[in-house]
């Protein structure tokens, strides 16, 4: 119990310290008093230290099974494995908020440390903003959603939601939070630049790495979440346009727009207002994401972590967004720049369109996510916004974005001449055109029929059918545009290394290596583009060509789907960890050759609050390792017991989950199936006979998504590596700004 008190009071001390940090830095902004600013900075670090103490105390509660803590009771149990006890910190509301504020405290400390002898004019407002956000979250975890709320003594807990007991789910939320929280830093610097009338290049050059870091972690978190959904939820897909998924995608899109548009400010001094707005929008959307996740205003698969903090988040979001907008409006004269645009056919113009589409898609996602509320307000009717409408409305714009991704790198700054366009685009365009032709020729009749249907839908003003009619063309267009982008990137690498070979007489690998190493940001960016293209290809292929079948089989039965034969060999029952499972054993054949042995499982997590069920489960579990027949019988008896208790209780006393079995074809020797997954789940298993209803998907190209993620991961790392030239440029910019202010 000492840890509980320590954590409880630790959080309160952290709140006092961060509140003082905010007040002192605000006073320092006005008075320019160095002592006050030092005090503010030290207080923010102290606040972080006490937040860490509180988080450690919650973890101690989990590890010591202190079920008097309500939070531990709801998200842990005696039988929960230790990694999931540790990860349960972010399994619920207050722990997630605590993790958020701990990450923000850590980032604030790093910001204060790295800027201890630079950017001193900006730091008071930066400290005030960081302190203000930390204080807001600490108010929530102290007074609204405390992880230290005590209840009566309990011998066991409810346990973590079974679907969250997954490796990827353990690292996906912290990764997302690193992304969300990281955007606070560029936001704080942007506000400070506005408040201090230092709207030059320093704020965004200083925070470039922070922005990339946050963008990278948010993107990685999104992909990890997708992978978790793919292997855990058992519906064969990876993205459901759930409101909370959308909430993470929106700031990532606006941050991507910022990473591109900031290059125009660097090169041409343009788009200052736009860049500041993008940073504000990205941070606001990060808060909005948390608001959506936690408020429960829109139903979501993430409803396991909803609570009553919605109004507080709503007010905070309003203050952040509208307060920042007021500041931008007040500083508009400082943000005015001379527009220097020589041609609409230039990289500057292509970046403007790229920004338009990225922000447009983010806006579309926001609009469609909140449309059920709008509809209810306007018409009184509730509607559901499921995946089809998100896909149909967004895909055309995503394809346009893919096209711009190819155009951007090859089009010249200032003005692209006709000859340079020819020189740069002939090869990539030809590559794209050949791919388009090849895909269309695979099934020309289907495309012709699709075209006729599309025109028919347009003529009859059937909007939904017209959108639906476009679907048939999306994979072909995606592959063609993907080839076009890959062509442009390959050309960039080829030309750069060829120039080095010619001028410096370097060998091809050395020239390529040095080219990339000396232009890490640029070639890192191109590598990210390659990764994104692969992700697009994976999405298009798996969505368009997915095959699915559902079939009931008895042990020994065989099902066939898309050239695969799956034989159901048998099953075993088990009671392990915190669940009862029916593990189905299947063999996979292709052309009569056995290619894999897979195990897919259907699980029930019994509610341990029912003593009879808990005792029977623990009894069965204890028999594991003994006589197999006795053990199997004991587990089989759990099934009728669960039904019996459910009939008596009038509700479910188990939580079902599935463990998917996947066989991926990654051999280049099977090029037509490269990147394909054979994906199988048992929808139900009869524990007495072993009869099972299998749902099987063949997902072509789906692994391109994860390969693309890895390539993008490498590219982002390359772009964020320290660069001596960047450092010098930042030093010069800072000196210039100091002189300009003086």
């Amino acid at each position: 119990m000492m840890a509980v008190e320590l954590g409880y009071y630790g959080l309160f001390v952290a709140l006092l310290a961060s509140a003082w940090a905010t007040i002192a830095s605000m006073l320092a902004t006005v008075s320019r008093e160095r002592g006050l600013q030092s005090s503010a900075e030290r207080s923010l670090v102290v606040s972080f230290a006490f937040i860490v103490v509180a988080a450690v105390c919650v973890e101690v509660g989990f590890l010591s099974n202190n079920f008097r803590l309500d939070y531990v009771f709801h998200y842990s149990s005696v039988s929960q494995a230790i990694p999931y006890k540790i990860g349960a910190l972010w399994g619920g509301q207050s722990g997630s908020l605590l993790l958020w504020v701990m990450i923000l405290g850590a980032m604030s400390t790093v910001v204060l440390w790295t800027n201890r002898s630079k950017n001193r004019a900006l730091m008071p407002v930066v400290t005030a903003v960081l302190g203000g956000v930390v204080t807001f979250f600490l108010v929530l975890v102290n007074f609204v959603e405390s992880p230290f709320t005590l209840g009566p003594p309990r011998s066991d807990g409810v346990g973590l939601n079974p679907q969250l007991k997954n490796y990827w789910m353990m690292i996906h939320p912290p990764c997302l939070y690193l992304g969300y929280v990281g955007f606070t830093v560029p936001f704080a610097f942007a506000l400070s630049a506005l408040a201090n009338r230092r709207t030059g290049d320093v704020w965004f050059r200083t925070t470039r790495r922070w922005t990339l870091f946050s963008w990278f972690f948010l993107g990685t978190g999104i992909l990890m979440g997708s992978y978790w959904a793919y292997i855990e939820l058992g519906w064969g897909g990876y993205w459901a346009w759930d409101p909370v998924e959308n909430a993470s995608l929106m700031p990532w899109l606006t941050a991507t727009a910022f990473l591109h548009s900031v290059m125009i400010q660097e090169k041409k001094g343009m788009l200052k207002v736009w860049n500041v707005l993008l940073v504000i929008l990205t941070f606001s959307l990060s808060i909005f994401g948390t608001f959506l996740t936690r408020s429960g205003i829109i139903s979501s698969v993430h409803a396991f972590a909803t609570s009553n903090i919605g109004p507080a988040f709503g007010v905070f979001l309003g203050i952040v967004f509208f307060g920042s907008l007021v500041l931008v409006i007040l500083r508009l004269p400082d943000l005015k720049t001379e527009a220097r645009l020589e041609s609409l056919v230039s990289r500057e113009a292509s970046f403007v369109f790229n920004n338009l589409v990225l922000v447009g898609i983010a806006g579309t996602v926001l609009f469609l996510t909140t449309f059920p509320m709008l509809s209810e307000m306007a018409t009184g009717r509730k509607v559901t916004m499921g995946p089809p409408i998100f896909n149909l409305v967004n895909i055309p714009w995503a394809l346009f974005l893919l096209f711009l991704m190819g155009v951007g790198p090859l089009i010249a700054w200032r003005k692209a001449s006709a000859s340079s366009l020819r020189r740069n685009f002939v090869v990539p365009c030809a590559t794209g055109a050949w791919v388009l032709l090849a895909v269309l020729l695979v099934a020309p009749k289907a495309y012709l029929v699709g075209l006729v249907d599309l025109f028919r839908s347009i003529a009859s003003l059937d909007v939904a059918a017209a959108f639906d009619g476009l679907k048939i063309f999306y994979p072909a267009l995606t592959f063609a545009l993907g080839a076009f982008v890959l062509g442009t990137v390959a050309l960039e690498f080829h030309r750069g290394s060829r120039a080095r070979r010619a001028q410096l007489k370097e060998s091809a690998p050395v020239a390529l290596g040095r080219l990339v190493w000396r232009n890490k940001r640029r070639y890192g960016g191109y590598t990210v583009h390659v990764g994104i293209v692969l992700i697009f290809i994976g999405i298009a292929g798996s969505a368009a060509y997915q095959k699915e079948t559902v079939q009931e089989l008895s042990p020994g039965g065989v099902l066939e789907v898309d050239g695969y034969q799956m034989r159901y060999d048998g099953y075993r029952l088990e009671a392990v960890d915190d669940h009862v499972g029916a593990v189905t054993l299947v063999s996979l054949y292709q052309d009569g050759r056995r290619v894999a042995a897979l195990e897919a499982e259907q699980r029930f997590h019994p509610n341990m609050m029912f003593p009879e069920l808990r005792d029977a489960f623990l009894h069965a579990k204890a028999l594991h390792g003994g006589d197999p027949r006795v053990y199997q019988d004991a587990v089989a008896r759990l099934y009728p017991l669960i039904r019996h208790i459910e009939q008596g209780a009038g509700r479910e006393v188990k939580t079902p989950s599935t463990e998917v079995a996947i066989h991926a074809t990654m051999s280049p020797l099977a090029p037509t199936r490269f990147g394909e997954d054979f994906y199988v789940i048992p929808l139900w298993v009869d524990p007495a006979t072993g009869s099972a209803n299998f749902r099987v998907f063949v997902n072509p190209m789906v692994n391109f998504i994860w390969i693309g993620a890895f390539v993008a991961f490498l590219g982002a790392h390359l772009a964020v590596l320290p660069d001596a030239r960047e450092r010098k440029r930042l030093a010069v910019t800072m000196a210039l700004e100091e002189r300009a202010v003086a």
């Binding site: 139903s299 979501s300 338009l356 509809s375 714009w397 959108f467 010069v732």
Partner: protein, 158 residues
Amino acid sequence: MRSRAGSLVLAILALGTWAHGDIDDAFRREHEYATRTILCDCGCSPQSVHACACGRAADMRAEMATAIRGGKTGAEVVDGYVARHGEKIRICPTASGFNLLAWLGPGVALLAGAVGSVVVLRRWKDASLAREAATPSSPPAADDPYVARIQEHLREYE
């Protein structure tokens, strides 16, 4: 004669198989339409009955299959669900009335944004050209102390 009778039997069998296949196809089409249009009401993420992996979706799929085997079309099954549960049971709203805003609004807004961007870019271009025409042909660095300072500093380290 025997061969004729055999041919007839074969033809009938083929017709039966074809007809049976046709019925299967029709059933599959109607069932798929209904399961892909209706939302699984299990309460988790917005998934169609077709896509959702939960037990509730399996029950709903079976319910729809029974209704279609009983002679209903997919559209009638959907209408029945909408009548019982309201519009929100559809996986996405119909493209009519206020809902058209959701279907067409984003595209129209983006097109308007694209047109707006072209207009703004043209203005910027015209303003740049006008400025260039107004300034003498000396190098810009000489006229612009800010640019001159930047160039000076960049020369220092490059």
